[in-house]
Amino acid sequence: MKLHHGAVRVVAGIAVPLLLLGAWSLTAREGWLPDQILPAPGVVRATLKEFIASGELLDATLISLERVAKGFAAGAVTGLAFGAAIGLSPRLNRLFGPTFLGLAQVPLLAWMPVMILLVGIDEGLKVILIGIASFIPVVLNVAQGFRDVPPALREVGAVLLFDPWSMLTQIVLPAAVPSVFTGLREGLANAWQTVIAVELFASSEGLGYLMSWGRQLFQLDLVLAVVVVLGVIGFALNWGLARVEGRLGRWQVRPA
């Protein structure tokens, strides 16, 4: 029964991508769009193979992943701390909350000219922008999660004479776990999108650079090959975080 259920989910999840692939093949075969704009799936697959074999794709992927790792780590750690602080302390929230919300409204790319003037166009720029991109959703969700701890459960802690440490570890943190993970997942997705945007604009290596290079040479097959890699890695990162969250949320017993 369980297996059957799982199989249905896989088939349902895979149906739409297969359909799109079919439409793509058909469009290419019938020549509805010029080859330069939409190369056939076979061409993209060949390009993918070629770039994997030469090691260029792996190099570019590792460079992009490293930037994401640095930026996301910085954004997530500071975001967790700041989000927890304004979520737990109404006073800190009154002091910093409005400023944060205002700055969070600034589109990420609008920071770029300012940041280029401040830190130049090197590695620092990428890590800072990716950091900001992950910081914002982490702070928003973490603060919300800490604020939304059910008062009824806090009261239980008070009745049992919990000290602040017990209150935090036994009640506040576990209650905030789902929101924290929502924030981390959004932050990671943002980080992954931002690394590509930054590399498209200002880089000589990485997956984003590979794409912009392919576009300049009118090698749309290369652009599409990178798109495939981006999708797969983004999916894998999200899945990995969801697994960690599932482990921490074992108590949320779902009907089988």
């Binding site: 009824a152 459960l153 009261e155 239980v156 008070a158 009745v159 049992l160 004479l161 919990f162 000290d163 017990s166 036994q170 009640i171 576990p174 209650a175 776990v177 074992r250 108590w251 949320q252 017993v253």
Partner: protein, 261 residues
């Protein structure tokens, strides 16, 4: 000196810009080992009174005293079972009960033993490792009772603890509650709107009226009347209390318990 004394307590809340008196001039004393039930319609301030005894809230006037000392905050001498079980969903039945011992002086081995003892008392030894989401409402409430008792508190406060359960489970847990409370010799204060439950469990009934919450009557229940829910003595007490709460029953109108029973 009474074990627990509520002395001339007033409590008023600000609700939407208006002053709403929740409790007016409440005075009540409990002796050690006594089981007292407060009955009243919703809005009569029963839960507010329990919060004052717990020390989660302060009276505007008057005092709550234990052995003559005013209550200043929560303490492990007072355990509470709420209407909702309020178990921590991320802890198992066992660790929920153990959480109540975080501030206890017992060594670890004795804590484990104590947790096992109280899970056994509520008949849930087999479910020690279950998450609250895996337990039925009645089972979760038993865990909550074990959590309230595991510190062996002097006072057990019960805030409509069986109110959210189905009728059958409620009857079964009433019998268990009677057994469990007598077992520990705890002084218990039950708040309920179920008059049957109050008569079945309590030595003394306190009838409260709403708007503002105040005590209208206090009556002692004859232990003999308690034993059998269908005895005329039980029904007489129940109907008397229902009458005080403004609910007329057939027996009250006819005035003949022998034929009604």
């Amino acid at each position: 000196m009474p074990a627990l004394q509520i002395a001339g307590v007033d409590r008023t809340f600000h609700v939407a810009g208006k002053l709403v008196p929740a409790l007016r001039d409440i005075s009540l004393s409990l002796r050690d080992g006594e089981f007292v039930a407060i009955v009243g319609a919703s809005g009569c301030g029963k839960s507010t009174l329990l919060r004052l005894i717990l020390g989660l809230d302060r009276p505007d006037k008057g005092e709550v005293r234990i052995d003559g000392q005013p209550v200043r905050g929560p303490g492990l001498d007072r355990g509470i079972v709420f209407q909702e079980h309020r178990l921590l969903p991320w802890l198992t039945a066992e660790t929920n009960v153990a959480a109540a011992l975080r501030r206890s002086d017992l060594p670890a081995a004795q804590r484990r033993q104590r947790v096992a003892e109280y899970l056994d008392l509520v008949g849930l030894t087999a479910f020690a490792k279950a998450w609250p989401a895996q337990l039925s409402g009645g089972m979760a409430q038993r865990v909550a009772i074990a959590r309230a008792l595991v510190n062996r508190p002097r006072f057990l406060l019960l805030d409509e603890p069986l109110g959210a359960l189905d009728a059958l489970t409620r009857l079964r847990l009433q019998a268990e509650l009677a057994r469990i409370v007598r077992h520990g010799g705890t002084t218990a204060l039950l708040v309920t709107h179920d008059v049957d439950e109050a008569v079945f469990l309590a030595d003394r009934l306190v009838v409260m009226q709403p708007h503002p919450g105040r005590i209208s009557d206090v009556l002692t229940v004859d232990p003999a009347a308690r034993r059998d829910r269908s005895s005329s003595a039980f029904l007489r007490v129940r109907d008397k209390v229902l009458g005080m709460l403004g609910v007329e029953t057939e027996a009250v109108r006819v005035g003949n318990y022998e034929t009604a029973a």
